[in-house]
C-alpha cells in the first residue's frame, strides 16, 4: 500500500485527511462523551446529509453551478443545525434531549426529499454515507487541515474552561466562565469536524469515531489528560487499520474504521477485566 500512497494522489489525500480526523474527532469526542452529548453528534451528522443533498440538487438544477463540492454545503447545514439545536434546547428547557430527535428526523426527512429530487440515489451518495478512499480531493484535504488546526488551537486555549464546563456547570458559572459562549464555540467545532470527517468515515459512522475511542480510553485512564491522549491514540489506530483494510478489501473505510474501533474497545474491556483480576489475586497473597 505504501507504494500506492506514493503513487496516487487520491490515496495521499485520504490518508492525510484520515489522520487529521483521527486526531480531531476523538479530541472533541472526549468532551462530547463526558457531557453526555453523544446524540448531538448523530443529529448533526444527519443534518450534514441534508446539506449534501441540497448541494447535489443545486448542482443538478442550476447549470451555472458545476462540480460543486458538497462538503461545504454540508458544513453550512451542520453549523446552522448546531445553532438551531441550542435554540430548541432553550425552548424545551425541561426536555433538552427532545431537540435531538427533532433535528435528526427533520434532517433525514428533508434529506430524502432533496436526494430524490436530485436523482441522487447512486454511488456518490453511498460514499457520503459510508466514506470513501477515492473521493477525497486535495482541496478537501486542505480544508480539513485548516479546520483541524483551528480546533486544536481553540481546545488548547479553552482547555480549562471546557474542563470546568464539562465537570460542573454550576461551578463554571461561579468561576466566571462565559458558559454560553464556550458551549457555542464547542458545538460549532463539533459541527465542522463532523462535516470534515464525513469524507473518510461517512455520515452514518462519524459519531462512532467521536465516541468509540473515548469509550475505550475511559476504561483505562485515571486523569482527564490521559483520557484525551488515549482517545486520540485509539482514534488514529482505528483510522490507520481501517484505511489499510478498506483499500485491500475494496470496501468503504467507514465500516473498517469503525470495526477497528470496536475491536479496540473490546480489547480495552478485556484489559480492565484482566487488570482487576490480577489485583484480586494480589490482594489474596
Amino acid at each position: 500500500m505504501i507504494e500506492a500512497i506514493v503513487e496516487y494522489e487520491f490515496l495521499q489525500n485520504a490518508v492525510i485527511t484520515g489522520l487529521l480526523i483521527g486526531l480531531v474527532a476523538p479530541l472533541l469526542g472526549v468532551f462530547i462523551v463526558v457531557r453526555r452529548l453523544s446524540l448531538i453528534a448523530d443529529a448533526l451528522s444527519h443534518i450534514t446529509l441534508t446539506g449534501i443533498a441540497a448541494s447535489l440538487l443545486i448542482e443538478k438544477r442550476v447549470s451555472a453551478v458545476d462540480d460543486w463540492n458538497p462538503m461545504y454545503m454540508g458544513m453550512a447545514f451542520s453549523v446552522l443545525g448546531a445553532v438551531f439545536i441550542e435554540k430548541l434546547r432553550k425552548v424545551y428547557k425541561h426536555y433538552e434531549e427532545l431537540a435531538i430527535p427533532i433535528m435528526l428526523s427533520g434532517g433525514i426527512g428533508l434529506g430524502v426529499i432533496l436526494i430524490s429530487l436530485a436523482d441522487g440515489f447512486n454511488t456518490d451518495l453511498f460514499s457520503y454515507l459510508f466514506g470513501s478512499v477515492t473521493a477525497v480531493s486535495r482541496g478537501n484535504m486542505w480544508t480539513v487541515a485548516v479546520i483541524t488546526t483551528l480546533v486544536v488551537i481553540i481546545v488548547l486555549m479553552f482547555y480549562k474552561e471546557l474542563f470546568v464546563l464539562s465537570f460542573d456547570e454550576d461551578h463554571a458559572s461561579i468561576a466566571g466562565v462565559n458558559a454560553r459562549f464556550v458551549h457555542f464555540l464547542f458545538i460549532v467545532m463539533v459541527a465542522l469536524v463532523i462535516a470534515s470527517a464525513m469524507q473518510v468515515v461517512g455520515i452514518l459512522l462519524v459519531s462512532a469515531l467521536m465516541t468509540l475511542p473515548v469509550a475505550s480510553a475511559l476504561r483505562m485512564s485515571v486523569s482527564f489528560r490521559q483520557t484525551i491522549g488515549l482517545s486520540v491514540l485509539f482514534g488514529e489506530i482505528s483510522v490507520v487499520i481501517g484505511l489499510i483494510s478498506a483499500y485491500q478489501l475494496d470496501v468503504p473505510p467507514g465500516g473498517t474504521i469503525v470495526m477497528a474501533a470496536v475491536v479496540l474497545l473490546m480489547i480495552s474491556m478485556l484489559y480492565k477485566k484482566f487488570r482487576s483480576g490480577l489485583f484480586e489475586k494480589g490482594e489474596k497473597v
Binding site: 453526555r36 465537570f167 461561579i174 466566571g176 466562565v177 485512564s221 486523569s223
Partner: protein, 257 residues
C-alpha cells in the same frame, strides 16, 4: 476594621413554578463574619444560596455581592462555593483529584492563560490543608463520599477567596475530619479575615464555631450573634420556627458528637 457588607439581600422572594420557597428575605453578611444558616429540610436554604450566587434569579428583591448587583458581579475569584450535591457529579468522570482542585483556579485566571508551576504548588498546598495530598493522582470517582467532599472543599479554598459559601459541606465526612475542617475554617476566618456562610444541620458545631446564626424557614426568622441565639428561650424558638428545629436543638443538647 471596616466592615464592608459582602452579601446583601433586600426583600428577596423566589418561587419554583407556583410554590414560594423564599419569601421577603432581608439579610446582610459583613466582612469577617462566620454565619451559620440553619433550618429544617425544604426551608429554602440551598435555594437562597443559589440566588446569592446568581444560579437562580430572584422573582422580587435585590441581591448584592461585594456591593454589586449579582447580575453585574464579576469578581468571582473572591467567592468559593461548596455545593450540597457535590457528589451528584458524574462519578465516572475521568479526572484526578489534582485536576478537579486545579479547576478551582479558573476564576483567578485570564481567558487564554495556561496553568503553570505556581498553580501546581498552590493546588498541592491546598490538598495538604484538607489532608488529601496523597490522593492527588487518584481518580475522583474512586474516592469515598467524604473524601470527595474534602476535595470539593479544597477546590473552593484554592483560589484564596475572601468569601466562602458552603451548603452542608461536611455531609459524609467522618467526625475527625469534620473537626479538622471546622478548625481550618475558623483559622482562615481569624487569620485571613475570610467571611463564611455555611448551611448545616449540626447546630452544636455551628454554635461553637460561627460568630452569627441565621434561622430560616422560607423567610429568615432570626439573624444575630451566636450568643443571642443561644440565649433565646425555647418558647421564642418554637414560636418563630415550628417544631422541626426544636427537635434539632434537643438532639444537639442530648449528644456530644
Amino acid at each position: 476594621m471596616a466592615q464592608e457588607p459582602l452579601i446583601e439581600l433586600e426583600d428577596v422572594s423566589f418561587k419554583y413554578d407556583r410554590n414560594w420557597v423564599v419569601e421577603n428575605v432581608n439579610m446582610t453578611i459583613n466582612e469577617g463574619q462566620f454565619v451559620g444558616l440553619v433550618g429544617p429540610n425544604g426551608s429554602g436554604k440551598s435555594t437562597l444560596i443559589k440566588l446569592m450566587l446568581g444560579l437562580e434569579k430572584p422573582v422580587r428583591g435585590h441581591i448584592r455581592l461585594f456591593g454589586k448587583e449579582v447580575k453585574k458581579f464579576n469578581r468571582w475569584q473572591e467567592v468559593g462555593f461548596v455545593s450540597q450535591k457535590a457528589n451528584s457529579f458524574n462519578s465516572g468522570f475521568p479526572a484526578t483529584v489534582y485536576e478537579v482542585v486545579r479547576s478551582g483556579l479558573v476564576s483567578r485566571m485570564n481567558m487564554f492563560q495556561l496553568f503553570n508551576h505556581n498553580h501546581k504548588n498552590k493546588v498541592l498546598e491546598t490538598l495538604r490543608e484538607v489532608e488529601m495530598e496523597e490522593y492527588a493522582r487518584h481518580s475522583i470517582g474512586e474516592l469515598s463520599g467524604g473524601q470527595q467532599q474534602r476535595v470539593f472543599i479544597a477546590r473552593a479554598l484554592v483560589s484564596d477567596p475572601s468569601l466562602i459559601i458552603l451548603d452542608e459541606p461536611t455531609v459524609g465526612v467522618d467526625s475527625e475530619h469534620v473537626t479538622a475542617f471546622y478548625d481550618l475554617l475558623a483559622k482562615l476566618n481569624r487569620e485571613r479575615n475570610l467571611t463564611l456562610l455555611m448551611v448545616s444541620h449540626d447546630i452544636g458545631t455551628i454554635t461553637s464555631h460561627a460568630t452569627h446564626v441565621a434561622c430560616m424557614n422560607k423567610t429568615v426568622h432570626f439573624h444575630g450573634s451566636t450568643e443571642d441565639y443561644e440565649n433565646m428561650d425555647d418558647e421564642t424558638l418554637s414560636l418563630m420556627y415550628g417544631h422541626s428545629l426544636q427537635q434539632l436543638t434537643h438532639n444537639h443538647e442530648g449528644s456530644s458528637l
